[in-house]
């Protein structure tokens, strides 16, 4: 009997050891462990893009990307509010990731092959088409009328990359001017410096007023992904898992509806997704 008891005890001890080993194997990723030790998730978001990342003067951040970040905090830390948002711009988001001041960026960051060489991107959580905003009295009805015209785009946006092949196909010559912010492009459109303001449609709808009109033309899909520092595989896996879960459960569509985002064709997203990573690999092989 005594022998039996000690045998059971030994067995129980061994089992406990094995279980602890499993448990620690699950949290062994240093990036996740660092976030948990810190007790909050550091996320870079946009502060000036309604529907994605927007901050009222001194108020809380809101938008699709804010909601996604909260879901991620819930998943890693068990609390959607254990999170610190930092407003980023096109110029600050790269360096903030590299210095480790942010865990990840959720800021209308378009996944592009050459960007995949610099940072790791999650699977897309949104995809949008590029649209064209023109002046009502400018006489432009479609992209075919754009020969010799000037298009204003945002610095570090992929709009230009989407429009250039389309212009080539139509055999027209279009000039591009890049501006640091969306309001700068709108001002340039209003003053006649550019004939068209072009970015992703979901962003463009925020700039429609009495004097301008959104054309029916639509160009290449622009998939948004979360960006992470290269080699942060543990966190990347968690983000990808979260996006897959949210899509499978239909929660992602609910978040889109809640934030007034257009419906997303996920099949299109997946097809595009794969082609982007393949292109990036080809690009890396070239270098």
């Amino acid at each position: 009997m005594k022998q039996n008891l000690s045998r059971i005890l030994t067995l129980a001890l061994a089992l406990m050891l094995v279980l602890t080993a499993f448990a620690s194997a699950e949290t062994v990723d240093p990036a996740i462990a660092a976030i948990q030790a810190r007790g909050k998730l550091l996320v870079g978001v946009k502060a000036d893009v309604p529907g994605f990342g927007y901050q009222e003067l001194g108020g809380d951040f809101e938008g699709l990307e804010i909601d996604l970040a909260k879901k991620l905090a819930q998943k890693i830390l068990g609390d959607p509010n254990k999170i610190e948002f930092t407003a980023v711009t096109a110029k600050t988001r790269g360096p903030l990731l590299d210095t480790g001041e942010l865990d990840l960026i959720l800021a209308t960051f378009t996944i592009m092959p050459d960007r995949l060489l610099q940072y790791d991107f999650s699977a897309p959580y949104f995809v949008d088409a590029v649209g064209l905003l023109v002046k009502k009295d400018g006489g432009l009805a479609s992209f075919a009328d754009f020969d010799g015209k000037t298009v204003g785009v945002a610095q570090s946006s992929s709009t230009r990359a989407a429009l250039e092949p389309a212009a080539e196909e139509l055999g027209i010559k279009v000039e591009f001017l890049e501006f640091p912010t969306y309001p700068d492009i709108k001002a340039a459109l209003d003053s006649g410096r550019v004939d068209c303001f072009s970015v992703d449609k979901a962003i463009l709808t925020g700039y429609v007023d009495d004097t301008v009109v959104l054309l029916a033309d639509s160009f290449n899909a622009q998939p948004y992904g979360a960006a992470l520092k290269k080699g942060n595989a543990g966190l990347l896996a968690v983000v990808d898992e979260l996006i897959a879960q949210l899509r499978a459960s239909g929660e992602m569509d609910e978040l889109m509806a809640k934030n007034d985002r257009p419906e997303v064709n996920w099949d299109e997203v997946d097809a595009y997704h794969e082609s982007l990573w393949a292109e990036a690999e080809a690009l890396a092989a070239q270098q």
Partner: protein, 223 residues
Amino acid sequence: MNGPFSIANWRAWFNAAPLFMRGYGQTLLISLWGLVFALIIGILAGVALTGRNRPLKLFLRGYMSFFQNTPLMIQVFILYNVLPKLGVRMGVVTVGVVGLALYTGAYAADIVASAIRAVPWGQTEAAESQGLSRVQTLVFVILPQAVKVGLPSMTNQAVNLVKNSSIMAVIAGGELMYVADSWSGSNLIYGPTFVMTAVLYLTICLPISLFARWLEKRSVRNV
């Protein structure tokens, strides 16, 4: 090696160097013309400030106060986006030249005026006693001496002007800073980009600075 300064990123930058050289050329072009007009404004306004025409002096004080005490970025933005609505439409290079000339000219006027005032009054009296007219006194006696006093500060303004030309990036100016922002924004290669952009600005500004220091040393020796 990975990270922002990886060898692949440096290689990518050097492949794109011709693009940056075009921006460099645009920076030189805008700076050079900006400097020429800033000097013209500075000398004319500086001389007028030491003269006796009160309404003109009041007007110049107003001009200098506005351009010295508002951000250059706003001035350039007005030239680029507001003037077209009033029917004045300048190309982007002209906007840069006019903006930099008006801004730097406001400082240059102060430098010229104080350089003229630094020339002892006795010089004017002596010139007038020799029968020189006011203009002759200014051109042959006062200005040659004032140049010595004002040149070092003026060269500093020239350096500032070159660096300030980077403000053109916000209005798609096509100069060096615009190229750097645009290129690195698209492919996210910011490491080599901004290091090399700084080096390119240095190749313009450092020689001017060294020239200024040499001038200063020389003028100290000659006093």
